[in-house]
């Protein structure tokens, strides 16, 4: 009895500590962003968001995410499928390549595109002759974001798909299911929650990425600044309310993403 009570106290203490750490390290900074944004009331904060350059950065951020997330979802699915369902030479190499964006600095992830597609880069002259702009324009931003966010979907799927194995799919195949039927009726339902979680993480990073996009952006106002870049600009121009208003919106987008994930997971757990 005595031992049980002290372990209960210990659990409570641990939980209390965990909550405290969460509040201090995650809640407080978020609160600070909101407080700074609203320091002069909601009016100036909203006005900062309605500024044409701020609106352009919001649109650009959403557009980049809208392109990169679906591409990386399909790509990540395909990669995870290859790695967990087949044995082939170079499999370990592919696995290492998938993780490459996690291990290199985001600055390098941006710089590689400048080295490839910049005027002085490998394909620069060819592109210039045809009037194609890759870096310092939308395609460069998309490429850099794709690169940085590629591992998220694959990395969340691989452990799960490895654990599940291919038995259910093999059973489906013996029953005469085609490849696509097997994918949509057997594989996808098994992995959908992990997939969703990967997609949402990928989306959060795609919207929040700073380093890689900073290198390829060119920082043209109202044109190639994503929200994180716009926040830096406002901050450097002493427009703190504006900077924190955009930052609060960016944080809010991430929170919405997380909330969507929680709601869907809860619903998924019941089904």
């Amino acid at each position: 009895m005595h031992g049980g009570r002290s372990s209960l106290a210990g659990t409570l203490l641990l939980r209390g500590l965990a909550v405290l750490v969460l509040v201090l390290f995650l809640g407080l900074p978020l609160l600070a962003v909101l407080a700074e944004a609203l320091r002069r009331g909601a009016g100036p904060a909203l006005a900062a968001l309605a500024d044409p350059d701020a609106l352009a950065s919001i649109r650009l951020t959403l557009l980049v995410a809208a392109i990169t997330v679906p591409v990386n979802t399909v790509g990540g699915l395909a990669a995870a499928w290859c790695i967990t369902r087949f044995r082939f030479p170079g499999r370990a190499l592919l696995l290492a390549l998938i993780e490459l964006p996690f291990s290199v600095s985001p600055v390098i992830s941006g710089l590689v595109w400048v080295l490839l597609f910049g005027s002085a880069g490998w394909f620069g002259p060819w592109l210039e002759e045809r009037g194609l702009q890759i870096v310092f324009a939308l395609p460069g931003l998309v490429l850099a974001t794709l690169f940085v966010t590629f591992p998220f979907v694959a990395r969340t799927l691989i452990p799960l798909m490895q654990e599940q194995g291919a038995t259910a799919e093999e059973a489906a195949a013996t029953l005469g299911a085609s490849g696509w039927q097997s994918f949509f009726r057997v594989t996808l339902p098994q992995i959908r929650w992990a997939l969703l979680s990967g997609v949402l993480l990928c989306n959060a990073r795609a919207m929040g990425e700073f380093g890689a996009v900073s290198v390829v952006s060119g920082h043209i106002r109202g044109e190639t600044n994503t929200m994180p870049l716009h926040i830096e600009i406002l901050y450097n121009e002493y427009q703190f309310v504006g900077a924190f208003a955009v930052a609060a919106l960016l944080a809010l987008l991430a929170l919405v993403t997380l909330a969507a994930k929680m709601v869907l997971e809860r619903r998924g757990g019941g089904a």
Binding site: G121, G124, W180
Partner: protein, 342 residues
């Protein structure tokens, strides 16, 4: 079956993509875009100048101009233009950075003689920003190497302003009794030992000093010092004019290859010429740049105290190319005298 994925995804992306497409489709046929790639402290000036010039261009040509800007450390901005940032005009911190672009063939080699006054429509100089009441009693360059004085200046490798800071200090040290190049090098070595952090650009350094409260003195562009002064109220800082400084001539140029490709030469030329006109000169003075125009300078009154300034073409430096190669290129004097963490 695979088709299921397609409509679902387009439903997701369509509302996001539409507003973006809307702005692109809404562009007028009689409109023109111009990109000015500039350095850090000109943000406020070009915001106002662009608004004024856009109105003027509409009256003159009927075209709706969208004047875009990009700001950053001068050296980094030049690099971006070399790497393909489609600048129509560059307005950078020093001629060397424009020379670097010209060397790659994007700008005609004689660019600096195409516009009046060395292609620098406004000038500035390097001053000290200190905390209110000047508690460390910093009056001149010699005070910067006293132990316990924290000096904030950006990295001369990436920042144009930082190179002006460095050269102004070098010129002062040369003029001291018994001053020679060895003494100047020793002086700067002692100065950089007092620098706790090297930011990449002038604005980053200002933020370090003003926002994060680092250091006792900021070596800054005169305009940047006045701006921080104006933004944060006179209650927090004082501006100190040293006995000697350097005449900084931030030049402007047309990026020939880009304007010819984009068909924007006429508007880009008009844009740069307009910088020399009286209202732009007055605007420059309002943003604490020293105007070239004598009338605008006189109108600014006591805003710009007279002080002794050397120029980059002084015998001690021999122009930007020589100064750059000697002091700032890899293996140059700066590399020799600056060792981080000491």
């Amino acid at each position: 079956m695979p088709r299921l994925l397609v409509p679902r995804r387009s439903v997701l992306t369509a509302p996001l993509a539409l507003p973006f497409l809307g702005t692109a489709a809404g562009a007028q046929p009689r409109s023109v875009q111009l990109l000015n790639v500039s350095y850090d402290p000109t943000r406020e000036f070009y915001r106002d100048f662009n608004a004024a010039f856009t109105t003027r261009w509409k009256e003159r040509s009927g075209e709706t101009l969208r004047a875009n800007v990009s700001h950053g450390g001068s050296g980094r901005q030049a690099r971006s233009v070399i790497d393909g940032l489609p600048a129509d005009v560059v307005t950078l911190a020093l001629a060397y950075d424009i020379d670097a672009i010209a060397e790659r063939g994007l700008i005609a080699p004689d660019w600096q003689s195409r516009l009046p006054a060395n292609s620098a429509p406004y000038t500035s100089t390097i001053v000290f920003l200190v905390r209110k009441g000047n508690p460390k009693n910093i009056r001149d360059w010699g005070d910067l190497i006293r132990p316990g004085v924290g000096v904030i200046t950006p990295n001369p490798k990436t920042s144009g302003g930082a190179r002006w800071n460095y050269l102004a200090g070098w010129a002062w040290a040369l003029r001291q009794p018994g001053g020679d190049e060895k003494a100047a090098e020793a002086f700067l070595m002692a100065l950089f030992r007092n620098v706790p952090v090297l930011d990449t650009g002038a604005r980053g350094s200002t933020t370090s000093f003003v926002q994060r409260g680092q250091g006792d003195v900021l070596l800054a562009w005169e305009n940047e010092a006045h701006l921080a002064f104006a933004e944060f109220g006179a209650g927090q800082f004082d501006i100190v004019y040293p006995s000697l400084s350097i005449l900084a001539e931030p030049p402007v140029a047309l990026v020939d290859r880009n304007v010819d490709r984009r068909g924007t030469r006429a508007v880009a030329e008009a844009y740069l010429r307009a910088l020399y006109e009286p209202d732009a000169q007055a605007l420059a003075a309002r943003h604490f740049y020293r105007p070239r125009d004598a009338a605008a300078l006189a109108a600014a009154g006591s805003r710009f105290p007279a002080l002794e300034m050397v120029t980059i073409d002084d015998a001690a430096f021999g122009g930007w190319k020589q100064a750059q190669a000697r002091h700032f290129d890899d293996g140059g004097v700066f590399d020799r005298l600056y060792q981080p963490g000491r």
